[in-house]
């Protein structure tokens, strides 16, 4: 049986980590590679880099960073944040990213998903979706959650998968940053709607929350601040989830 995955997310700006874990052993806490390695050693199953740089120059820096990470990191990693075109996705995949995550650009041009899936296989084409509760169901939002798209979550999920998405990173805007747990009802509905793995994101505060996300059908759960600020360790989360009966890669 596949183990459920724990994925720390690193925000990167101009090639440097913005929020990072305070591992005492790190020589350079701003170096994304050192951060990723530390998470790998701590038992992370995968790492996600989210580029929050605005400038085009920074995109070149990102490709160089991906090359460095691919050479040194012995676990898989995804890269996302502002991927606008198939050419950009290709540059990141060629540099060695295992997966490229697409969000706003895929909403405005869904053929981007197909292009990436054909180029690298569905397993490398990740679609990130930011969703917010509305009336019945959830609405998809774009541009980092700031803009309404009018699209229904389940409708967009199915389209993304039909177009070749091999994995979905699903963030609840309502839960993000609250530390009150993942959006379980949304996860239940989303994971039942598509056959591809869904990664839960937004709301992690305690180890128990990860087990709840897995019980709701998530294949993996992603978190940033609880790991960065040291309120939870990956080992602690994995032990708790294993105790609840979810297979974990632990000890890693």
């Amino acid at each position: 049986m596949l183990t459920r995955r724990i994925i720390p997310c690193l925000d990167v700006k101009d090639g440097r980590v913005v929020k990072g874990v305070n591992f005492a052993a790190l020589r350079d806490a701003g170096d994304p590679l050192e951060q990723a390695r530390a998470y790998g050693a701590a038992g992370a199953d995968e790492v996600c880099f989210l580029d929050i740089s605005a400038s085009l120059e920074a995109r070149g820096t990102l490709v160089q960073l991906v090359e460095r990470v691919a050479r040194e990191l012995a676990i898989p990693f995804a890269v996302g944040g502002g991927v606008r075109s198939a050419a950009e996705a290709e540059a990141l995949l060629r540099a060695g990213a295992d997966k490229v995550s697409m969000n706003t650009a895929a909403l405005s041009d869904p053929s981007l998903i197909t292009a990436v899936a054909q180029m690298a296989g569905s397993q490398s084409a990740m679609v990130a979706i930011d969703a917010k509760a509305r009336g019945p169901g959830w609405e998809v939002r774009s541009h980092g959650g700031t803009r309404s798209t009018g699209r229904d979550l389940i409708d967009w999920l199915r389209e993304a998968v039909d177009r070749g998405a091999g994995e979905i990173l699903l963030t609840s805007i309502d839960h993000d940053g609250t530390r009150r747990g993942f959006a379980l009802e949304m996860l239940r509905v989303a994971t039942a709607a598509v056959p591809v793995p869904v990664i839960a994101s937004g709301g992690a505060g305690e180890a128990e929350h990860f087990a709840e996300a897995f019980a709701a059908g998530a294949a993996a759960a992603l978190a940033a601040s609880v790991f960065h600020f040291g309120s939870l360790s990956i080992g602690e989360v994995k032990e708790q989830c294993a105790a609840r009966g979810f297979p974990m890669r632990w000890p890693a």
Binding site: D98, M119, A120, G121, V196
Partner: protein, 199 residues
Amino acid sequence: MNVAVVDLGLGNLGSVLQALVRAGADPQLSDDPAAIARAPRIVLPGVAAFGLGMERAARFKSALQDALARGAPVLGICLGMQILFEEGEEDGKREGLGLFPGRVTKLPAGVAIPHIGWQRLKSVSESPLWPSGWAYFAHSYRCEAPAEVTRAIVEHGPVRIAAVVGRGTLHGVQYHPEKSARDGEALLRRFLAMPEGRR
């Protein structure tokens, strides 16, 4: 150079090369069939899809056969393993290299597809690679390998996936040892410790 990595022009070549370096090897990327035919050991890394992989790999078929005839160890990784089989159904029916018997088919409906994540390998018959421990998978197709070449498996729901295959000095791994942390590196080290092919 103690291992040649076949350059199919796509895929995660950098990660495979660097994982081989971490495992103590001195790898060389090559797209020259003559050099590959003479190489001490050979790694065939994965690329995007079966059809494209075969388009790029077809011209290396006789080089790989020559290398195997000299007793050189050959390791196919992920799609690099799949194209060692007879036929694939991704992008329509495509002929493979035919070095292993069997077809490559889409994972059946009803299980999570793609099969992405970590599983513990289950050894089913002896292999000099001694496959064990944690393996990272990311694929939608599987090799329907006959029992006589299947060395380790994983179970994805009710579906049995051939994780490691081997016959003589030809080996294939469906997972990514270059992404499988310590256990992946250990497998690469065992591959690199196999005796070189005769000159």
